[in-house]
């Protein structure tokens, strides 16, 4: 039954075929039952008619009860040609007038009356249908119900019932086959849009990610919408990537030009003092370039991991503490910086990618150290019913609210190029990395200026991701 699993067409056809066969069988059984009843009804009339005719022929002649079954009785019953005929006529005392002495009715049969009584029995090794009617004799001495029983074998009835059933089943089979054929054609037609979508996608140029413009039935619309949505995301991602590469190229080109001019300067400088200055500046440019490249790689790594790594339980408290320890030595120049760490609980577990999360937290801290006031840094891990939050608070002026969105885009940190902002050693990628990690964890990055406290940058992770959301895709 692999075809059943692999082919929708086969699935629908087999299921419907089975349904039709089951339907045909049950209707066939019903038809057989009905046909038996119908055949019995038809032949019962003949049988009763014959019994009435015999009863009619009972009369009194010379003080004796006599019966003279008309020939027409036999001719009527002979209409069902292959059937044997048994009959018995008795007077009120049960004495045989004519017919089969041995023909007896079942025990519980009511005594003969004007109304015919019908039943089934076995006589002379064959199943028979019998009818019993009475004729009341009011002559003195003979008073009472004379009884007429006529029985006939069932061959003609069974033949008629069989014939009726066969015809019903024949029509049924024809209808079922037609229905099945219609279903097969319909299913094929219904599945055609899927082929059309496949072909439309196949025919496309490699870089064509515009939405499909096919007319599809309502039932397939979600698939087409999903495909379009997917392509939209792919297109968006591609745009971001293109911009990122252009930006990265631009960002690297500037320090490289600076590097080149410094090296050029150094090559022509003869004054040792100026040479020394030049080497120092060279050192700065190389350092910045190194950091830029590192962050580019970090960003790439975060993007890669967000698409490929499956989430696992992570203790966010320990993770943040380690991140803080790693990040501060990098910013240890500011010796008067007061670093604080707070956590509500000993451990707060979230489902996520520890490497990405650590990278995000490090970048948040670096951002605070780089852009903060330089005297205070507070890192807090909080958890409430809906979310887990990592807050990084510095005493700087913060980012103006109108630039909060821009800040999360790569190379947008205050529209300052590396060259223009020599003191501030941001690469322009840190918050973008945080944003990517937050998105991968279905969370977000929030900014807030709190009077009396400072500027708060928060990584918000949704509280309890359900198991199916554990994947970080």
């Amino acid at each position: 039954m692999t075809i059943f699993r692999t082919s929708l067409y086969a699935r629908v056809t087999i299921m419907l075929g089975a349904l039709l066969i089951a339907g045909a069988l049950s209707i066939g059984v019903a038809a057989w039952q009905y046909a038996i009843v119908a055949a019995d009804e038809a032949y019962d009339r003949l049988l009763s008619g014959a019994a009435f005719q015999i009863a009619e022929s009972i009369r009194i002649e010379e003080g004796k009860l006599i019966v003279d079954p008309p020939v027409s009785v036999f001719d009527t019953l002979a209409l069902s040609r292959g059937d044997r005929i048994f009959y018995k006529v008795t007077n009120a005392e049960g004495t045989l007038l004519t017919g089969y002495e041995t023909l007896r009715l079942p025990e519980k049969t009511p005594p003969p009356g004007a109304e015919p009584v019908l039943g089934n029995a076995v006589f002379s090794r064959e199943p028979v249908r019998w009818v019993s009617v009475g004729r009341y004799i009011s002559e003195p001495n003979l008073e009472g119900w004379a009884s007429v029983v006529v029985a006939q074998t069932r061959q003609a009835r069974d033949l008629l019932a069989f014939d009726l059933t066969l015809k019903a089943i024949g029509i049924l089979a024809l209808m079922s086959l037609l229905a099945l054929a219609m279903v097969m054609i319909t299913v094929r037609a219904a599945l055609a849009p899927l082929h059309a979508i496949g072909e439309a996608i196949d025919r496309r140029a490699y870089n064509d990610l515009t939405p499909l413009s096919l007319e599809v039935p309502r039932e397939i619309a979600p698939l087409a919408a999903g495909l379009n949505h997917f392509m939209q995301r792919l297109s968006d991602r591609l745009t971001i990537l293109k911009r990122f590469i252009a930006d990265a190229a631009h960002q690297i080109r500037t320090p490289l030009a600076a590097l080149s001019s410094q090296v050029d300067l150094l090559a022509h400088e003869r004054d040792p003092e100026k040479q020394k200055q030049s080497v120092g500046r060279l050192q700065d440019v190389v350092d910045r370039l190194g950091r830029l490249v590192n962050q580019l790689l970090d960003h790439a790594m975060v993007i890669h991991r967000s698409e490929s790594v499956v989430g696992a339980p992570v203790d966010l408290v320990a993770l943040t503490r380690h991140a803080l320890r790693d990040a501060i030595p990098m910013a240890a120049d500011d010796s008067d910086l007061n670093v604080m760490f707070e956590s509500q609980q000993q451990a707060i577990t979230v489902i996520g990618d520890s490497v990405s999360l650590r990278e995000a937290i490090v970048n948040l801290i670096n951002n605070a150290v780089t852009h903060g006031g330089g005297r205070m840094l507070l890192v807090r891990v909080l958890q409430d019913a809906t979310a887990t939050r990592v807050e990084v608070i510095d005493d700087g002026n913060g980012i103006p609210p109108e630039k909060w969105t821009d800040m999360l885009q790569p190379f947008q940190s205050g529209k300052k190029s590396v060259d223009q902002d020599k003191d501030r050693r941001g690469s322009g990628l840190g918050l973008a990395i945080v944003q990517d990690v937050a998105r991968a964890h279905h969370g977000e990055v929030q900014f807030e200026s709190r009077t009396g406290l400072g500027f708060v940058a928060t990584l918000v992770l949704p509280g309890e991701p359900s198991p199916s959301d554990a994947s970080l895709r």
Binding site: I66, P69, F74, L77, R81, G82, L97, T98, G99
Partner: protein
């Protein structure tokens, strides 16, 4: 008598000389009504015997002997015992045998086919179906148990020397008219079956009562002129041949034509108002000792070869030959006057006790049977 290939004939009952069957029958009837007449004939297998069947028949051997012998050409390893009875005796014997459920005859042949139908209705028959039986018309078989294998019209037979041509009746009305006009001349010289003894006679009389409104007048008329009644067709034909009986009514044409071929000065008339056609019936009883050999014989009777021979010996009447029977000068076509007796449950009417008793009583009231 014991020439190889010739049948040995022995009579049971009063042992008398073989061949004197008519006398035997008459004497047997005189001696006792209970005494049954029968005649035993053995047809030894021409080759070494491998099977043996007992045929009990109410149909005279003379008519059937060619077929028995022809069968033995096809099946030389089969010995056939052929016992002939009067129709009613055969019926009584077969009924009793069936009721007792004891093994016996392998095949019944009877010209009184209503009796075979009654036996089949009583569950005494056994079914047989083959390509040959399928060719038998539906009106000439019942339940694949009773098969008609001949088609013989009931004819009016007269002695050409006794009955002048202008007296020969061609319809029942003409017959009635003749009996009325020349009653003194024909009194005591009209013959037919004793329907109490002869199953065929009963069946044909019953058919008359069904087909003709003249039936009552006919038997009344027969009674008035003193009908000569006989048990068997051959007896009446003999009487006609000898001139004792001038006109025989309702006689199987096959016998009459046989006698005619032998040179008897008799005429055979198919009455133009209607002519009943009778089939002799064959049935393999449920109690057959060797049903498979019986089937071989039945198969032969119904086969092309058997039917062809039956036609040749006059057991199957060909309507095309009717003109030769000087009956149809004024009749449009043969088929219209023929009334075949349908082999089927309708014949059970003939076997109803009450009906039968009434019918016989009515007949007896009109006709005092002659010995």
């Amino acid at each position: 008598m014991k020439v190889p290939g010739n049948p040995e004939r022995l009579s049971t009952g009063p042992r008398l000389l073989a061949g004197a069957r008519v006398t035997v029958a008459a004497i047997a009837l005189l001696l006792s009504v209970q005494q049954t007449w029968s005649q035993y004939t053995l047809f030894p297998a021409p080759a070494s015997e491998k099977a043996r069947i007992l045929i009990e028949a109410a149909t005279d051997l003379v008519a059937l002997e060619p077929m028995v012998r022809d069968f033995q050409l096809v099946a030389p390893d089969v010995t056939i015992e052929y016992v002939e009875y009067v129709t009613n005796d055969l019926f009584a014997k077969a009924s009793a045998q069936c009721a007792r459920n004891e093994l016996g005859a392998d095949l019944f042949l009877s010209s009184s086919v209503d009796q075979l139908v009654k036996l089949a209705n009583d569950g005494c028959g056994s079914r047989y179906r083959s390509a040959a039986t399928d060719l038998v018309p539906a009106t000439a078989k019942w339940r694949d148990e009773v098969f008609g294998f001949t088609a013989e019209p009931a004819a009016l037979v007269y002695n050409r020397d006794v009955v002048p041509k202008e007296d020969v009746p061609h319809t029942r009305t003409e017959l009635l008219d003749l009996l009325r006009r020349k009653s003194s001349l024909y009194a005591g010289h009209i013959g037919s079956y004793d329907i109490a003894q002869s199953g065929i006679g009963f069946l044909l009389a019953s058919a008359d009562s069904r087909h003709s409104s003249l039936y009552g007048r006919l038997i009344e008329s027969f009674g008035r002129i003193g009908l000569v009644t006989r048990c068997c067709t051959a007896d009446i034909i003999n009487d006609i041949e000898s001139g004792r009986v001038a006109i025989g009514y309702n006689l199987l044409a096959s016998y009459a034509l046989g006698a005619q071929r032998r040179g008897a000065r008799i005429g055979v008339i198919l009455l133009r108002d209607y002519t009943v056609v009778l089939s002799r019936g064959a049935m393999i009883p449920r109690t057959a000792r060797d049903p498979s050999t019986a089937r071989r014989f039945l198969e032969y009777l119904l086969s092309m070869r058997g039917q062809h021979l039956a036609r040749e010996v006059g057991l199957i009447f060909n309507p095309a030959e009717m003109r030769e029977l000087e009956s149809t000068q004024k009749s449009p076509s043969g088929a219209e006057i023929l009334r075949p007796i349908v082999i089927g449950p309708g014949l059970l009417a003939e076997q109803d006790q009450a009906k039968r008793a009434r019918f016989l009583a009515e007949w007896y009231r009109s006709i005092a049977p002659t010995p």
